[in-house]
């Protein structure tokens, strides 16, 4: 397995803050890996993911994607390869189908083939969205449904790496279990590399995961 993502000596501070959110942070993500980063609220878990796709800028350190510094790749191109799903799922005021195909309207994804309507309907079932139709408004879905739809939308671009930011924090236990199941199936069936952060006690059941803890501004391996 090759290194997909390498984080070296990373540090991040909010403007005007006395202490950095974290510093001297190193992490290697191998292709096909399933990595979980745990930590309490405010320890910088989300920031770590956002730095990986350049939604925030680090003060110190380097992030390499496939051996290349991420700042050397056009942001839109980088984000078409590293897909980030936010804690609170966001949908535009369009139908479910239009939301799912939204990434294909962007220049960085124009060379990718958009899935057919049949393929989308089949995928909806895989994401526990059987009752959802492509023509209905995405804004009217529950938060749990939106979160599953957001993950589905992200993988339609066939990214090399999925960054999942507390994907179950706003969900009830049943919806959370569905999302965890989806995450594991993405890794086992689609060989998707996953880097997720959570403050829950979730332990993957069907995949071999690496677990880290982010606390006191440092990242440490807790479970191999």
């Amino acid at each position: 397995m090759t290194h997909l993502l390498e984080i070296q000596n990373l540090a991040f501070s909010w403007p005007g803050a006395e202490f950095p959110v974290f510093e001297h942070l190193d992490l290697t993500v191998r292709e096909g890996a399933f990595i979980l980063v745990r930590g309490a609220s405010g320890t910088g878990k989300s920031t770590l993911l956002r730095l990986c796709c350049r939604l925030n800028r680090p003060q110190v350190g380097v992030i390499l994607f496939r051996g290349r510094n991420i700042v050397e790749t056009a942001p839109a191109v980088l984000r078409s390869m590293i897909s980030y799903v936010a804690q609170i799922p966001q949908m535009t005021d369009m139908t479910v189908g239009e939301n799912l195909l939204l990434p294909f309207s962007f220049a960085a994804n124009r060379n990718k083939i958009a899935p057919s309507e049949e393929a989308l309907e089949q995928m909806l079932a895989e994401f526990y969205l059987e009752g959802v139709s492509l023509g209905q408004s995405a804004l009217k879905l529950s938060t749990g449904q939106k979160q599953r739809l957001a993950i589905m939308r992200a993988i339609l671009q066939q990214p090399d790496l999925m960054l999942l930011d507390e994907p179950t924090s706003a969900l009830d236990p049943e919806s959370a279990a569905m999302v965890f199941s989806i995450m594991e199936r993405l890794n086992t069936e689609r060989k998707m590399t996953i880097l997720g952060v959570t403050h829950s006690d979730y332990r993957p059941e069907t995949v071999v995961a690496l677990a880290y803890r982010l606390e006191n501004r440092r990242l440490t391996l807790t479970d191999a």
Binding site: L55, S83, I88, Q90, L102, A154
Partner: protein, 261 residues
């Protein structure tokens, strides 16, 4: 028809009755506008008198330099007014806005004065300065509205903009809706004015020309030019300013720089 009735100073002071009505309304209904109404009335009085004397002087001298100096003062003043309304600290918008105003207003005034009206010289102050005044007054408000809207929407819709960025959108694609809404918000007053002109209201310039004895059929031609000029210059200035300022809302990694307040 060619006689204009002069307004004497006592007659002018009689117009303050309207200010007293506004003051009384604010006082009775506790609107808290008394100070603003007083300052506004005094500024109107002082600024217009000053402008009157300056114009009388400039029209008499027929100096290009003085005409351009008036233009510079007007644009700088407009920029200060825009800056007073748009209190944004995280994005440096003042300089690009000022430079855009300077260039587009100048180009518009030259086009209208020199080409459409066909004055000689092109900077003939009697046409050039009033043209600028109308363009700046209209476009300044549009820019302020558009900037306020863009900064507000960029913050309110930050999560949606970031969602699009995360899905591979570039900054233009991610903020397309914010951009369009901002420009539209700035443009709507000018477009509405075109809809209502001649039906709902008689614009100030046309009224002034008619009052000063100009044939209404001549006055309407000027007014049509003015209405088109205002829409065009407002669109041009707003779009250029929004394009530049939108880029400045994003960092080098196309990350959103505006943080929630």
């Amino acid at each position: 028809m060619n006689q204009i009735i002069d307004i004497s100073i006592p007659q002018l002071l009689l117009a303050f009755v309207f200010i007293l009505i506004a003051q009384a309304s604010s006082f009775i209904y506790h609107l808290g506008l008394n100070r603003d109404i007083s300052v506004g009335a005094l500024r109107t009085f002082a600024q217009l008198f000053l402008m009157g004397y300056v114009l009388t002087f400039i029209l008499g001298t027929q100096s290009l330099l003085l005409t351009l100096a008036v233009f510079a003062v007007m644009v700088v003043s407009a920029m200060f007014i825009v800056r007073g309304r748009v209190k944004e600290k995280q994005v440096a918008y003042v300089l690009p806005t000022f430079l855009t105003m300077l260039v587009t207003y100048f180009a518009t005034a030259v086009f209208v004065s020199g080409f459409i009206v066909g004055t000689t010289p092109w900077w003939e102050p009697r046409y050039f300065i009033p043209t600028l005044g109308m363009v700046i007054g209209n476009s300044m408000s549009a820019i302020a509205i558009a900037l306020e809207r863009m900064f507000r929407d960029m913050r309110v819709q930050r999560d949606v903009v970031e969602m699009k960025l995360a899905l591979g959108a570039n900054y233009r694609e991610a903020s397309d809706e914010v951009f369009r809404n901002a420009v539209t918000a700035g443009m709507i007053p000018s477009i509405n004015a075109m809809m209502g002109v001649g039906l709902v209201f008689i614009p100030g310039m046309m009224s002034g020309q008619i009052l000063s004895g100009t044939d209404p059929l001549v006055a309407i031609r000027y007014q049509i030019v003015v209405m088109f000029m205002l829409v065009g210059s407002t669109a041009l200035t707003s779009i250029i300013v929004m394009l530049i300022v939108r880029k400045r809302c994003f960092g080098s990694g196309e990350e959103v720089l505006l943080t929630p307040r």
